[in-house]
């Protein structure tokens, strides 16, 4: 099985594969932030910090314990989720943008901590050996993306997802309907950070070298851009946003240094013409249904 999958992966051009894997990881990270910001309406400015927790946890588990990669992914996700609960517990009990400030501060502190710990190899960063698994990494990325999308699609339409949307729309009214806003906000933050941790672990093993400074404020803003560009709260939108912004540097080429400037301009234009994002308000369910309907009743048109 592992050999067969490896052969399949080898059929694909390495450059294309690299882009695809990056898109996949981008999608996972952005979907996670979408739970926090798009669904529950809470602004996290430190998503990359939770990604770094997953990245370092994953790397250390592979290096020190040789942990099977599937288990490693889960552990990395849970570690990020654990820290998010520690941050979320004091800040999400208040309504307002305290989370934004707290995550911003947490990200900076975490970077300094990683830069000074022996286990993360201080400022030198960690070389990450290949994952312990016979299944190639791109397959893990693909499976993670599929699971992440499926889980989120189910979540959005559930009682849990509705409670998150209610909090986003009007926290006071949500509470008056019996929604425990604090609990749901912390859960959303934990789930989103779990996604970030898994994304970070995949990233670490794919890129094979991680350094605390790879996960700074700009990386968090990058992920936020993916979510906002595509459309807050829309799964197809987030997938599009992650794909566009992951591939953009490849196409922009000479403009690489001005990436942030270009994003800024694009976002301003977007705010003016499509304030809800490129695919804002487009739901995954409806999209699938539409395609399905077209396939099954071609004569109707």
């Amino acid at each position: 099985m592992g050999n067969f999958l490896q052969n399949v992966v080898n059929q694909i051009d390495p450059y294309v594969m690299q882009i695809l894997v990056n898109i996949g990881i981008g999608i996972i990270l952005a979907l996670g932030l979408n739970v926090i910001t798009g669904l529950a309406g809470q602004l996290s400015l430190g998503h990359a910090a939770f990604m770094s927790i997953g990245a370092f946890t994953g790397a250390i588990l592979t290096i020190k314990l040789g942990m099977p990669f599937g288990v490693n992914l889960l552990c990395s996700g849970f570690m990020a989720a654990l820290f998010s609960v520690l941050i979320g517990f004091p800040t999400l009990r208040l309504s307002g943008d305290y989370l934004a400030i707290a995550t911003l501060g947490f990200a900076e502190i975490l970077k300094v901590v990683f830069l000074n710990l022996d286990i993360t190899n201080r400022a030198l960063g960690l070389s990450v050996p290949p994952p312990y698994s016979s299944i190639p990494l791109p397959v893990y990325v693909l499976i993670s993306v599929v699971l992440a999308v499926t889980a989120l699609a189910l979540m959005q339409e559930s009682r849990f997802g509705r409670a998150l949307k209610a909090i986003r729309e009007d926290e006071i009214a949500a509470e008056a309907m019996g929604v425990n806003a604090t609990r749901y906000k912390i859960q959303a933050f934990a789930i989103g950070s779990f996604y970030a941790g898994v994304g970070g672990c995949l990233y670490a093993h794919f890129i094979a070298y991680i350094n605390p400074s790879d996960f700074g404020f700009l990386k968090s803003i990058d992920i936020l851009n993916m979510v906002v560009l595509g459309g807050l709260g829309s799964i197809p939108g987030v997938i599009l946003g992650a794909s566009l912004l992951t591939t953009a540097p490849e196409f922009l080429g000479f403009m690489k240094q001005y990436r942030m400037l270009v994003y800024g301009i694009i976002l301003i234009i977007l705010m003016l013409f499509r304030p809800n994002g490129l695919l804002g308000g487009v739901s995954f369910k409806e999209m699938v249904l539409k395609i399905f309907r077209k396939r099954t009743q071609p004569s109707r048109a």
Binding site: S158, I172, E175
Partner: protein
């Protein structure tokens, strides 16, 4: 039987005593109106009952449970539904989703069952919640608008949607804060019928309203507030003829 008991309830905002030593009871099955001039403290009392504000003094009992220090979501879950004076709908969500969220406390109970039964249990629960939400929409006559966004409804319908959403909570006590505000005479008449239907379904109602004709016609009893204090309590006829009440209202008008 007493559903809700306010016992010497007070709250101060800085130097302002917004509600001062107010006591009254709401009996099961009645429609009790809370009236008073602007700024008398009516909405503040709603927010105190719902746990949005902390009492400075006194206590509030719901079905003999002291709810004075509980959180809003806990109080809602005990069975108190409310609507807001300034509309608080989930604007970007559909009419139906608004009511489904109202039914939030009606779900999540059988989730602790066996893991094997988990998925079917969720599907069954969703079906139940959808049915409940649809019945509530029917009750206020908004079932045809179920897929519209809440923010796109006309004002009167938004007020009725707030009622449907509160009904989905299956409350035993319903608090309505100026439900007729901004409604035309026809809508007001329909609202009055709706409130009777709700009461006849066994739900006790506490309402705040400025439209005196409406209040006199619909309520079983009336409590009058002025400057945060209770100045009268009684059946509509007593209130209509009470010199204190007339003075409170006329005094305010005269001052302007």
């Amino acid at each position: 039987m007493t559903v809700l008991e306010l016992d010497k309830v007070s709250i101060r905002f800085g130097g302002l005593v917004a509600v001062s030593q107010v006591s009254f009871n709401i009996h099961a099955g009645e429609i009790l109106a809370l009236i008073g001039p602007n700024g008398a403290g009516k909405t503040t009392i709603f927010n105190l009952i719902m746990g949005l504000y902390k009492l400075t003094d006194g206590k509030i009992l719901f079905k003999n449970i002291n709810i004075s220090s509980r959180k809003p979501h806990q109080i809602a879950a005990l069975g108190i539904g409310r609507t807001f004076q300034t509309i608080h709908l989930f604007n970007q969500l559909t009419v139906f989703d608004n009511v489904l969220i109202g039914a939030h406390t009606q779900g999540g109970r059988n989730m602790t069952g066996a893991l094997l039964k988990w998925l079917p249990a969720i599907a069954k629960e969703e079906k139940d919640l959808h049915e409940l939400a649809f019945r509530c929409l029917q009750m206020v006559g908004l079932e045809k608008k179920r897929d519209a966004l809440a923010k796109n409804l006309p004002y009167g319908e938004q007020r009725r949607l707030e009622i449907a959403r509160a009904l989905a909570l299956k409350p035993s006590l319903l608090l309505l804060d100026e439900p007729a505000a901004g409604m035309n005479p026809q809508e007001t008449k329909e609202l009055m019928e709706l409130i009777h239907v709700i009461r006849n379904s066994g739900i006790t109602i506490l309402l705040v309203e400025h439209d005196m004709k409406f209040v006199m016609k619909i309520s079983d009893r009336i409590v009058v507030l002025d400057y945060g204090a209770k100045i009268a309590e009684g059946v509509p006829e007593e209130i209509r003829t009470s010199p204190l009440v007339i003075q409170a209202y006329l005094g305010k008008v005269g001052a302007r």
